[in-house]
């Protein structure tokens, strides 16, 4: 037999049988796929893609390099461990980048982003954004005194314009586009001159940025507008560079007189550094910690949100635990897990007898009981939770009854709400049907003859239940527990309403970061951790109990 099977078996049309079979099956599979295609596409487009893009935010950090491209590049060489400030080059880039960002109003967003890592950075960026004009004016005023041409937008345009700086323009345009997050395409009406760009690199950068923003966003003509204050500041930067000065001396194109005059009267310009200017605006700029934070978060991806989510932080010395008084998430995760377990356990304890009754009562009574079990399903979740609020509060129904019966002193009524107790009580009630239904459907398949057989074999009622009935109902407990536990661990509404501060779950914190603090990165990191924890527990469960042992029905 075995040697004949080696031969290729052919189908009726002469093709190998295996191939024909595969073709036939493929058609079936495609057909099946087409049946689920609408739902699949719907789910992928509206659910999976948004969720993954949301989760991606937990590591995404593009706002820092996008908003401060020059600074992050210049900072790369800075060694934060020396305790010294970065050199003035970094502050010059900071000025150019910040000015651009403040025009586009993205510097505050960057401030809020960095504020997650170091408190105070938000206000630092906000206040500095307002003072940038003043810094530029320190150079603008004396320059305009040296040569009035510097007052004239058309003069600047003429001086900076050329024909060969297309690449430079596109480079600055791309940087702008990534910073504001939208396209900056369109005719700028200005092409920088490469000769000027080599002679006055800072000025060209600042002026090109100004030209792009003026033409594309303000939709004005570049030549008719006065340049930004940053352009004067940038010219000041160039004038301190001996190479630039030398180039100006030999320059003879448009505006050469004005530039030479500026070089000649360079002592009228502020004799200061941009570091000092920023220090004047806000002394936090002179703190090395601020700079090490910016440096730590200048890469495009960051583990920062995840570290935050487990109460750690990134420091120049590596990853470290946060100070004790700032740690909240680990405890919150533990609390969520423990409370979800308690809720699951109470659902098993309360649901098991009910499911047993449902499975063993006569049909009519069982249907009635089933309706009672399902009744909460037909009521709004919010209504049910609010009802618990009415029941549980200190002046609520339960306390009133207990006081009236004399079990509880009027002075020390039970605190059943705004703590973990309230969350556990309300959520056990709300999730109970999810335990009862799988239990019931499994118990329904356990024939009463098993119990009879056990008793006829000499087992007492308890032994018959424990040795024969209970093991057969375990798959139901497993299914119900997984369902309840996974629902509980991500529950939001009920803990939000009755949980107070000590009874809230991690999901409430996630919601807070999504809608109030707007720290979506941290929210995404917390959400990802929750997802991984649930999957991990599921895996453990599969290992210990076996997922085959979970039955949702016959």
């Amino acid at each position: 037999m075995s040697d004949t099977t080696q031969e290729l078996v052919l189908a009726a049309d002469g093709r190998p049988l295996k191939q024909s079979l595969r073709r036939a099956l493929l058609r079936q599979k495609l057909r099946a796929l087409m049946l689920i295609a609408p739902l699949l596409i719907f789910v992928v487009v509206t659910f999976i893609v948004p969720i993954f893009s949301m989760l991606f935010r937990s590591v995404e950090n593009e706002i820092v390099p996008d908003t401060l491209p020059g600074v992050t590049q210049a900072l790369a060489d800075w060694d934060s461990s020396t305790g010294e400030l970065p050199n003035d080059d970094v502050f010059r880039h900071l000025y150019i980048d910040m000015f651009k960002a403040s025009e586009a109003k993205t510097h505050t967003r960057l401030g809020s982003r960095l504020n997650y890592e170091m408190t105070g950075l938000s206000s630092l960026f906000r206040t500095t954004g307002r003072g940038l004009d003043d810094i530029g004016e320190e150079w603008q005023d004396p320059l305009e005194d040296i040569d009035p041409n510097f007052k004239d937008g058309a003069f600047w345009y003429e001086m900076m314009s050329g024909t060969d700086g297309e690449d430079l323009l596109e480079e600055r345009r791309d940087l702008f586009a990534t910073m504001v997050g939208e396209s900056m395409d369109g005719d700028v009406g200005f092409i920088p001159s490469m000769q000027i760009a080599e002679m006055l690199p800072w000025t060209t950068r600042a002026y090109t940025d100004f030209a792009i923003w003026t033409a594309i966003d303000d939709e004005d003509v570049v030549a008719e507008e006065d340049p930004w204050e940053s352009v004067y500041g940038a010219l000041g930067m160039d004038l301190t560079n001996p190479d630039s000065v030398a180039a100006i001396q030999s320059y003879s194109g448009f505006g050469a007189d004005a530039l030479k005059a500026a070089v000649a009267n360079v002592d009228q310009l502020p004799q200061t550094t941009f570091r000092a200017e920023f220090g004047k605006e806000n002394e936090d700029w002179l703190s090395p910690e601020v700079w090490s934070t910016i440096q730590l978060y200048s890469s495009r991806m960051t583990p920062g949100y995840f570290l935050n989510a487990v109460d750690m932080q990134l420091t120049p010395d590596g990853i470290a635990e946060k100070p004790e008084n700032q740690q909240i998430y680990k405890q919150l995760f533990m609390r969520t897990l423990v409370m979800a377990l308690i809720i699951t356990a109470s659902c098993v304890v309360l649901g098991y007898p009910v499911a047993w009754l449902l499975a063993n009562l006569p049909m009519r009574t069982a249907s009635l009981l089933m309706i009672l079990v399902l009744l909460p399903f037909w009521t709004s979740l919010l209504v049910r939770t609010s009802a618990w609020k009415v029941l549980l509060q200190q002046q609520g129904v339960i306390n009133e009854i207990l006081v009236w019966l004399g079990f509880v002193n009027d002075a020390d009524r039970l605190i059943l709400m705004n703590n973990a107790t309230g969350t556990i009580i309300a959520m056990t009630h709300i999730l109970l049907p999810f335990m009862i239904l799988p239990l019931y459907s499994v118990m329904k398949t356990i024939q009463p003859s098993y119990l009879r057989a056990a008793k006829s074999l000499g087992a007492t009622n308890w032994t018959a239940f424990w040795r024969v009935y209970f093991p057969q109902s375990v798959p139901g407990i497993g299914a119900g527990s997984i369902l309840v536990f996974i629902l509980a661990i991500g529950y939001y509404i009920t803990p939000e309403i009755v949980g107070g501060t000590s009874g809230v779950f991690i999901s409430n914190r996630i919601a807070y970061h999504i809608s109030s603090s707007l720290n979506w990165g941290l929210a995404a990191a917390l959400g990802s951790i929750l997802l991984v924890v649930v999957l991990g527990l599921y895996w453990c469960y599969d290992r210990i109990v076996g997922i085959d042992n979970v039955k949702l029905g016959g």
Partner: protein
């Protein structure tokens, strides 16, 4: 109503009644007594009360009235697990989460037997049903017949004196069922166990039992060994229910000792044995087994009454011929004849004369 009382009664039902709803009696005044070692079958259509009787004996139902005794002791108030009765269920009820050996070990464990003793008894019980190699398997891995054997072994492993079986062979195919019928009776007699067996299959009842109790309408209609049941049914229900039976309706014309003459509704006159008829003029159903009908004049008494019959259908069944006749206006009169070399084969439409010995024809209640 046969009381069936024996001196050394082991299982006794005395005036037992059972009602579930308080309005109708499912079991009406049941009296039954069986000696040790007997194989008794409760046979009857569904709803006749036979399973209820079994459940009362097992302790899963309580009698509304009356007394059930086991070995002379009333067991009405003894819970099922203390009765020590082995039971085989219709669907076997093998515990699916335990292996075969664990299933068998269960009754021994709850009796707190030592491990070595348990293992030995389990092994012996499995060997007894020829399932010795299957101890490590789960019930779902066994075929229906194998599960049946295991269920039997489990009911016997703790050596009960009484074993109850509730339609245990219902789910098996015909061949396996016949094999198991033989094995169960063999084991029961071998071990000397008293057995109460419930079935609605009369062949099963006839082949296996020492005695059969035919149930209908909550009563035992007849309690007798299989041959008596078949050959001398005491009423028309038993006659109809056990085996194939031809019925002719008529009126008693004359009773002479243990024979009587019956005028059929069509006017024909036949001889019969009066069983539960007593007066002339009483309506009666005359019962005659298909294999006791003769159409060969030579084999009948000279003075036997004969009836005219028309052949409607002739079926060749190998060992026998089965012929359907129209007799006295009855189109469903069946006769069975052995396939012997000298046997005459009938043709459709043929007119014949049939007759029988008076003692094979029983005049029963109408």
């Amino acid at each position: 109503m046969t009381d069936g009382a024996t001196n050394d009664a082991f299982v006794e039902f005395e005036r037992v009644q059972k009602s579930y709803d308080g309005e109708t009696l499912v079991v009406k005044d049941l009296n039954l007594s069986m000696p040790k070692g007997e194989f008794l079958t409760m046979l009857g259509p569904s709803g006749s009360g036979k399973t209820t009787c079994l459940m009362m004996l097992a302790g899963f139902e309580t009698a509304t009235h009356g007394d059930i005794r086991l070995g002379g002791v009333s067991i009405n108030n003894i819970p099922p697990h203390k009765r020590g009765i082995g039971m085989v269920f219709q669907n076997y009820a093998l515990f699916p989460h335990m292996t075969i050996a664990e299933n068998l070990s269960f009754p021994l464990e709850v009796r707190k037997l030592g491990k070595a003793e348990r293992e030995e008894k389990v092994k012996r019980a499995l060997d007894m049903v020829e399932m010795g190699d299957f101890g490590g398997r789960r019930p779902a891995q066994l075929s229906g017949g194998q599960q049946q054997r295991v269920a039997l072994a489990r009911a016997l492993v703790f050596e009960p004196e009484l074993v109850l079986m509730d339609e245990p062979l219902g789910a098996l195919d015909k061949q396996l069922r016949e094999k198991m019928q033989f094995e169960i009776t063999y084991l029961a007699h071998q071990l000397g166990i008293t057995t109460v067996y419930v079935t609605h299959d009369q062949t099963e009842a006839l082949t296996m039992s020492d005695r059969v109790a035919v149930f209908d309408d909550g009563r035992i209609q007849q309690l007798a060994p299989p041959d008596q049941l078949y050959e001398t049914p005491e009423n028309s229900f038993v006659a109809q229910f056990i085996g194939e039976n031809n019925t002719l309706e008529g009126v008693i014309k004359e009773i002479r000792g243990n024979t009587c003459v019956v005028t059929l509704d069509g006017g024909e006159v036949i001889d019969a044995v009066p069983v539960n008829v007593s007066e002339v003029g009483e309506r009666t159903r005359v019962s005659i087994r298909p294999e006791r009908v003769e159409y060969n004049r030579d084999r009948l008494h000279e003075d036997a009454h004969t009836l005219k019959a028309e052949v409607l259908e002739f079926i060749y069944m190998g060992d026998i011929f089965r012929t359907r006749l129209r007799v006295a206006g009855n189109d469903d009169f069946i006769i069975k004849t052995r396939n012997a070399p000298d046997q005459v084969r009938l043709n459709r439409g043929q007119q014949i004369e049939i007759g029988w010995l008076a003692e094979d024809c029983r005049a029963l209640d109408a």
